[in-house]
């Protein structure tokens, strides 16, 4: 029965997916971004991290279609002679890695705490939700900035640089878990009072099993929606932190880092160094957001 | 009954929901009349189309639902094709509505007095002072104690039963000729249901208001209605005087339904006695919609759809009463 419902849901999703050209386009864009990022080490034309391959005399090459451009560097090169296209692919990799990891971290944390709060109720619930409320009043970017700042200040610089990526993931993840907790808690409360859960309780099914086998499957839809929309936000948060110079370490430049570096060249005519990473970032976030929007509408037909 | 001009006429009403998998027919060929002052009970299982019929009459079908065929006439005037603004003037003024759940029907942010007054000033040529005075009277009429004080209370300050009384007052306050009451007691405590029904019945009689009472509670119907329409899968299965339908139902479905009424004053749960379940709108069988469950099914039922046919004291949509065709 559950499988049949699931199949129905899947086909339904598929149907609404195919009906919306915007969604199809954004899925393709997202797929291109993800593939480009994931496969960067194999398909990028150059390796921007291989310092020995950089040549300063190749610096500031415009895109290939410009008369001064070189076919070797499709989107031009930056001030160190790095291939912009390759840098974008590797940068997208970092952006995506941070965004995904932070979202997964926030999801796991938020879902477990939300389930616990919704299922346990009482003091556990009120304390957890109070924490949620407090944190939700602080914008996530500020929380991330503070977490990052404190870790930066506490750890010696060398140690920090090595784990900087994790710090950023942690900072962004910790700033976003309450949204998940809230969503899950709400759904859990609804599910908890349904007859089948009550019945399961009465016959002595362990709480943990009830939560994971009965409650969780019913809240997967909303979680998926929140997670998708949050992925876009997480990528933006990372870009913003990196733009402010407190995000990922410069040895692993993300799209935000590339934009920050390129910004210095925006007015001097070398626009490609900043515009292309900017376009890549927007394309990635916009496509993810569009997918999230579609998913929300598709899973929540009432809203249509 | 046919000697009095009917107040409401529903003729061959068809309501469709266009969906991505094709068009769902929610109501098909529904016809009935309500005379002035008459109470028509509409019964049937959930999803049979009872509430949909009510919504179609007050012109508030949920989009994308739409009337695809048929007519609705109020006092001889066609109202199903009116523009929104014209229909709005009729709602509340000519046709009042009562919804199922009094807990969600009232706007939580406005006092009951304000909601009553705004309804009256919208439809009646009275000022705010007069409206307030009448609001208090209405609250008294529906049995709210200390109405003069409670008029400035917010809905959440009332109990469920009291709220439904407020809703009744709201439905009646512009003195409509017809009330569409959609399961007015379902959400209430059993102990309160009878009081609310009694109130509704009394007011309708006093004001001479006709009523379409939608419910799946046969007990309520038996007690309140003059006539009753039994609906099944978006169609009227049988319609006739309440006594006849309850006692001598002609349609096999009605018969099964009536058999489920327990002896006096015991509440009826879902109709578990009929085997199987009502089909989904997307999978209504060919022929008579009831044929897969019908104990008296024969070939014709599986192929052709029956219309309402005179079946003695009632009209039933059943080939059993088709005098022209031989039984198979």
């Amino acid at each position: 029965m559950a499988a049949a419902v699931q199949r129905f849901l899947d086909s339904d999703l598929w149907w609404s997916f195919r009906r919306s050209p915007v969604t199809v386009v954004s899925a393709i864009v997202a797929l291109v971004c993800i593939l480009g990022a994931v496969l960067a080490p194999w398909i990028a034309p150059h390796n921007p991290f291989d310092l020995a391959s950089l040549n300063l005399s190749d610096a500031f090459k415009p895109p290939a279609w410009d008369e001064d451009g070189a076919a070797e560097y499709l989107l031009g090169t930056d001030d160190q002679g790095r291939d912009v296209l390759s840098a974008i692919m590797y940068g997208a990799r970092v952006s995506l890695l941070v965004g995904l990891s932070a979202t997964i971290f926030a999801t796991v944390l938020g879902v477990s705490l939300g389930l616990t709060a919704g299922y346990a109720g009482g003091h556990v619930d009120s304390v957890l939700m109070r924490i949620c409320d407090i944190q939700l009043t602080f914008p996530s970017i500020l929380v991330a900035l503070l977490v990052d700042g404190v870790v930066r200040a506490v750890l010696p610089r060398e140690v920090h640089d090595q784990i900087a990526l994790f710090v950023v993931i942690f900072a962004i993840g910790i700033s976003e878990w309450p949204k998940f907790a809230r969503t899950v808690r709400g759904s859990t409360l609804v599910e908890r009072n349904k007859e089948y859960v009550q019945a399961a309780r009465v016959i002595g099914v362990p709480s943990l099993r009830i939560m994971f086998s009965h409650v969780l499957p019913n809240v997967i839809g909303p979680i998926l929606v929140v997670a998708t929309l949050n992925l876009g936000l997480a990528i933006l948060s990372e870009a913003t932190l990196s733009f402010l110079g407190v995000g990922v370490p410069p040895t692993q430049p993300s799209l935000g880092t590339l934009i920050r570096i390129g910004n210095d060249f925006l007015f001097s005519g070398e626009w490609w160094i900043t515009i292309f990473p900017g376009v890549a970032l927007i394309a990635m976030v916009l496509s993810v957001n569009l997918l999230g929007d579609w998913l929300r509408d598709a899973l929540n037909p009432k809203l249509r | 009954m046919s000697n009095v001009a009917p107040l409401l006429q529903v003729k061959n009403l068809r309501v469709e929901f266009p969906t991505r998998r094709g068009t769902l027919v929610a109501l098909d060929d529904v016809s009935f009349d309500i005379a002035p002052g008459e109470v028509l009970g509409v019964v049937g299982e959930s999803g049979a189309g009872k509430s949909m019929t009510g919504a179609a009459i007050i012109g508030l079908l949920e989009p994308p639902g739409r009337i695809a065929k048929g007519e609705i006439l109020l006092g001889g005037r066609r109202i199903d094709n009116l523009r929104y603004e014209e229909m709005r003037r009729i709602r509340g003024k000519e046709i009042g509505a009562i919804f199922q759940d009094p807990l969600t029907t009232l706007n939580p942010l406005y006092t009951v007095g304000r909601q009553l007054a705004e309804t009256m000033t919208t439809h009646l040529p009275i000022g705010p002072g007069e409206a307030r005075k009448r609001a208090i009277e209405w609250l008294e009429m529906v049995g709210i104690p200390a109405a003069a004080q409670r008029i400035d209370s917010y809905p959440h300050e009332f109990s469920g039963g009291m709220r439904q009384r407020v809703v009744i007052a709201l439905a009646l306050c512009a003195e409509p000729r017809l009330i569409v009451a959609d399961e007015p007691t379902t959400a209430l405590d059993v102990s309160i249901q009878a009081q609310v029904i009694a109130l509704l019945k009394r007011l309708a009689r006093e004001k001479g208001t006709a009523m379409m009472l939608v419910t799946h509670d046969m007990g309520v119907i038996a007690e309140t209605a003059d006539r009753v329409a039994v609906m099944y899968a978006g169609r009227v299965a049988e319609i006739g005087p309440v006594r006849e339908v309850v006692k001598h139902a002609n349609h096999p479905y009605s018969a099964g339904l009536m058999a489920s009424i327990p002896p006096l004053d015991r509440r009826v749960e879902r109709l578990a006695q009929i085997d199987g379940a009502m089909p989904r709108l997307s999978a209504i069988p060919k022929g008579c919609a009831y044929n897969p469950r019908c104990p008296q099914v024969f070939d014709k039922c599986r192929t052709y759809r029956p219309d309402l046919i005179n079946a003695g004291t009632t009209q039933a949509a059943c080939w059993l009463y088709d005098t022209e065709a031989p039984r198979g």
Partner: protein
Amino acid sequence: MRKLLLAAALALGLGAGWAEARTVRWAASGDPNTMDPHSQNVGTVTMVLQQIYDTLIARDQELGLAPGLATRWEQVEPTRWRFWLRDGVKFHEGQAFTADDVVFSVTRAQQPTSNYAIYVDTIERSVQVEPLVVDVITRVPDPILPNKIASLMIMSRSWSEAHNSTRPQNTRNREEMYTTRNTNGTGAFRLQSREPDVRTVMVRNTDWWGWNEPSSREANVTEIIYRPISSDATRIAALLSGEVDFVLDPPLQDLNRLRAAPNIKVVEGPEVRTIFLAMDVHRDELLYSDVRGRNPLKDLRVRQALYQAIDIQAIHRTTMRGQSVVTGTFFPPQVNGYSREEDVRLPYDQARARALLAEAGYPNGFEITLDCPNNRYINDEQICQAIVAMWARVGVRARLNAMPLAPFFAKIQRDDTSIYLLGWGVPTLDALYSFQSLLRSRDGGQGNGIWNYGRYSNPRMDQLIEIMTNQSGAPRDAAIREALRIYREDIPHIPLHHQMIPWAMRSNLTIPHMANNQPYFRWARMN
């Protein structure tokens, strides 16, 4: 209103050569962190304070010495310099300028909290001879005292005492005193208002003694509004859109665009500042390297390899966009003691670099961390990035540690570094200043090796520096020549280039370009 007042002032004969309000809106990346003239010896502070405070000896437009508050000076004895002071000079708040103010200012600059000790290190005391004659007595003969005294800004004794400011503000322990935000100089402009990090407004001191000097006769600036704009892009956008008139430090990558823009001109010139890499040649094991038990940088061959691995022409061409003067030594020709023959680089030769590394026992290179500021010198971080890439090609795996100047200086000043990039300016325009600060052993002598964070120590170098300090004439010149040769052969630093400094401004502003990167608005004219 202001125009009216100025017209009135003109009518009273207070001003000459200017007739109406001429405001220069000036922007640079950093903001001075104090208004105390003896507290912070950094360019961002002096560029504002030298508009307000005068020195005994001024600089002319070629950075030569010129009369300032002293009209004349003379080395009356080997250890005694005498200064004859200008008559009738008044501080902005009205106090008359006397020899006593000079004595006070010298003493103040010698306080432990002073950052200007290097300019007064040889001074034993100063005495008032007459109200307008002052003697400065040195512990040892100091031939370049006038060069140093030219950087010492003169304060009013009575004003300082009245405001509890008889010693320089101690920026290290974060104290605030009156001089943090207030000034009282004798200079061409006086401070009108100051909001740190936002704006500093100076207005013309119509009483200034120098307005009738030939160099200032055409000057007409009546108001200077300084705003720090740290973002390169924003600073340039502000100049292009006409919100500022003068940008002291336009980013190199924008120069072509600025040159092409109407109503904007770029004035270029060399700066007396040399960029180089300095190395830890003291520790037996580097703090930031994978080499254990020995310090590769102590090996001349390794230093030479790192040197020859750098393609300085590529950096000059691309990173600096031609705005640098490649060098093989550590101060530019404007500085007394410079020698063309000693300004020779080791050639760029990666094969040679690899061979040297192999010879030194590092055929596979080694790891090291390069500390680099990212907002102090022109394109500092980019230079370091380029060098890291170049080193990578000879097998030296350098990790770049780029930071803002505050943590950067804090780090290297703890000797907490293995190799770092530094830029060194020479305000005295004499070689000694560089030798003493950068290469002398840190032996506790005042000013000795205070910027020698690699702790280079060479007894012969120390001797030569001693000669430079105490002697003049031919022996001194010879000592400098020899020291420069040792510098070239011993490679305590890897020299890179002298900075060129472009100034960008609106076409209607004329201001002499100065190699010390200080704009002198007393010589500026707005049309």
